[in-house]
């Protein structure tokens, strides 16, 4: 497929780019991977430069969702939105699509995945829908992303899964919601949800640890994850009554019970029961949680878990580390920290942004 390469940004916006926080990067380097819907209604995967300009796009056969980036930053895989039947691998240096692959029959992508630390395997959260069971599909990244096996996630409806800083442990957010392709996107078990965090050994698939939410929170579906030095942070979607006031961001330290972050109720109430993505900044001192339904982004101090900033951005959803702060996407806009970075008026950004 020919590369559809374009640079859309007005030159003036370059002056808004943040000072580089990490290693020097060339403007032409892919710094973020995301997805979007174009004005004509079709969907694309997008490679963004650090200044928010579009380096390359690839037309997708349906709506995209999350992306996995290999540790050596050479490759990215973009997954279809759930219930998804395709994933697309990119060569980040050449900025082009290399492989299009699908889950095996009887499985559907949930929209997220991760590379093993050595980059040889790719894991994808998947729905074994006939057996109402969450699995991590395993693909050989050295052989055209051939399906080579799968592991149980020990829960229903896994959504995001991340490789932890130890390079070995995979943390899976089992959202707890059963779905089936016969009833697209219908939630089939809201009365009996049991969300959990599963910790799997990425070498063996063994369940190392599992944390369940307390029964009072059984309808808080754990969907998105990030890690800071001493804990996992999660963002949830609440399936109970609109009138319930409930925290949507929590943390878990192994060996302890998961706990919701404490904050004034109005901050969480404004998120309308949905956190669409979470991310930590480069040095892990801050965590951002975005809510498109609330048009809000909350930024937390990773150590004290206190809220340090509440930001308003219509349709806010994508968050990714950018220096000390975050790149955020919402509607057609890209925001660096608290400053507008770029607006691509002919498209709408999708849920997730991944930093390369």
């Amino acid at each position: 497929m020919p590369l559809d390469r374009r640079t859309l940004l007005a030159a003036g916006l370059a002056s808004l780019a943040l000072p580089a926080g990490g290693s020097p990067a060339y403007a032409a380097d892919a710094a973020f991977v995301t997805c979007c819907q174009r004005a004509d209604g079709r969907y694309e995967a997008v490679l963004l430069s650090r200044d928010g300009s579009i380096l390359a796009t690839e037309l997708l056969e349906g709506r995209g969702h999350g992306a996995a980036i290999s540790a050596d930053r050479s490759r990215a895989v973009v997954f279809a939105r759930r219930p998804g039947r395709f994933a697309v691998a990119f060569d980040l240096a050449r900025q082009r699509q290399t492989v299009l692959f699908m889950p095996p029959s009887g499985r559907l992508f949930y929209g997220h995945g991760l590379f093993s630390a050595d980059g040889k395997l790719l894991f994808a959260t998947e729905n074994d829908y006939e057996n109402e069971r969450g699995v991590l599909g395993i693909y050989d990244a050295t052989d055209g992303f051939r399906h080579v096996g799968e592991w149980d996630t020990h829960g229903i409806g896994p959504h995001e899964a991340i490789l932890m800083a130890d390079g070995q442990t995979i943390c899976v957010a089992n959202g707890g919601i059963a779905t089936h392709p016969d009833f697209p996107r219908q939630k089939l078990n809201l009365a009996t949800m049991a969300p959990s965090l599963s910790y799997l050994d990425s070498r063996t698939g063994d369940l190392i640890d599992q944390a369940m939410l307390p029964s009072a929170l059984f309808q808080l579906s754990i969907r998105h994850l990030t890690e800071t030095s001493d804990r996992i942070w999660f963002g949830g979607q609440y399936e109970g009554s609109r009138g319930d006031s409930i925290g949507l961001v929590g943390t878990h330290r192994r060996g302890q019970d998961p706990a919701l972050v404490e904050a004034p109720a109005r901050l969480f109430d404004a998120l309308n029961h949905y956190v669409g993505s979470v991310a930590s900044n480069r040095d892990g001192t801050r965590v951002a949680a975005a809510s498109p339904r609330g048009g809000r982004i909350l930024v937390f101090d990773a150590k004290t878990t206190a809220v340090i900033s509440e930001r308003s951005l219509p349709d806010a959803c994508g968050v990714a580390p950018l220096g000390d702060d975050f790149l955020q996407s919402g509607g057609p806009d890209l925001i660096a920290g608290a400053r507008p970075l770029a607006r691509h008026a002919d498209l709408m950004w999708d849920n997730h942004l991944r930093a390369v």
Binding site: L188, A191, R266, R311, D315
Partner: protein, 359 residues
Amino acid sequence: MMHRSVLFIAVLLFLPIAPAVADEKDQAKVVAHVLDNVIQPGYQALKAAAERQSSSLAALCEAPGEPALATARGDFGRLVSAWSRVEFARFGPARSDNRFERLFFWPDRRGRGLRQVQGVIAGQDPSAISVKTLRRKSVAVQGLLALEFTLFGTGSDALAGDDVFRCRYAQAIAGNVALTAGELVDGWTGDYGALARNPGPDNPVYRAPKEVLQDFVRSANEQVTIVRDLKIGAALGKTPEAAKPKRAPFWRSDLTLMSIQANLEAMRDLIADRGFSEVLATDDEWVVESFRFEINQAINVIKALESADRSWVDTTGDVEGHQKLAYVQIPMGGAATILSSSLPQALGLTLGFNSLDGD
């Protein structure tokens, strides 16, 4: 703990300027119309229908016989009709305490609910014949589809004879439906109704009346989509031979078409008859009329199929019936598009790309 003083709201971007719509007072009037004329009477009717069902079942249990069974089965039709008119309200009080699932555990793709109901009947589970203990059991054995199986499923004819347990179980389900409907009436007249009627900066759920309208429009869209894709689409398959009519609810009692008709009429009532057009700019009034046109098209097809006097199962397997059901999805799709795009736009609602139904 957080220090409020360090909080700030960085207003990064301003919302696009909303089209000229009526002020909040008019929007609040529409909310009140919907609550007073759709939601509250809808749940009251459900409660009344469940109480009537409970009485006719009590009579059947006391004096079993064909006429009493026919009456109880007839009352089930009224109950399904009443339910189908409030089914769309999947938010608010219906989400507390699993009330929605308690009333309507569907889809049940794995037939889990059916197996549990059969288990209750086969085992003559004593905890299933009092409302109080029935409510502690699985949501799948205490709602309308469980009741349908007791009244119309395999072995139900014995209700006219000596199956006292089955009758008492059915009566307990009807009691539970009445109780749950009563809770929904209370929820909408009480706490949640107060939230919907009094939006404002300190209201934890609704900041402005248009957010309440947004919930109604969103649930209407969801209802039309569920009818089109799940009740009809999933049951229809590509050809009459490939139809799977039992995927739709209420096929056992052959009330599927009637319940779909009630679902659609309720959406016409909610969107076209309760003043939405009065809060639209003159230029946008066509949106509501266009919705009425599409939904009427769909209702007319469903009515024609009902009057053909063929069961739902036979309709889906018949060439002409199958064609009509395939056709009826078109105006339903038109109605859904209005609810998901033109109407929100005309109302000045911002339904974000990422916020519609999560990830």
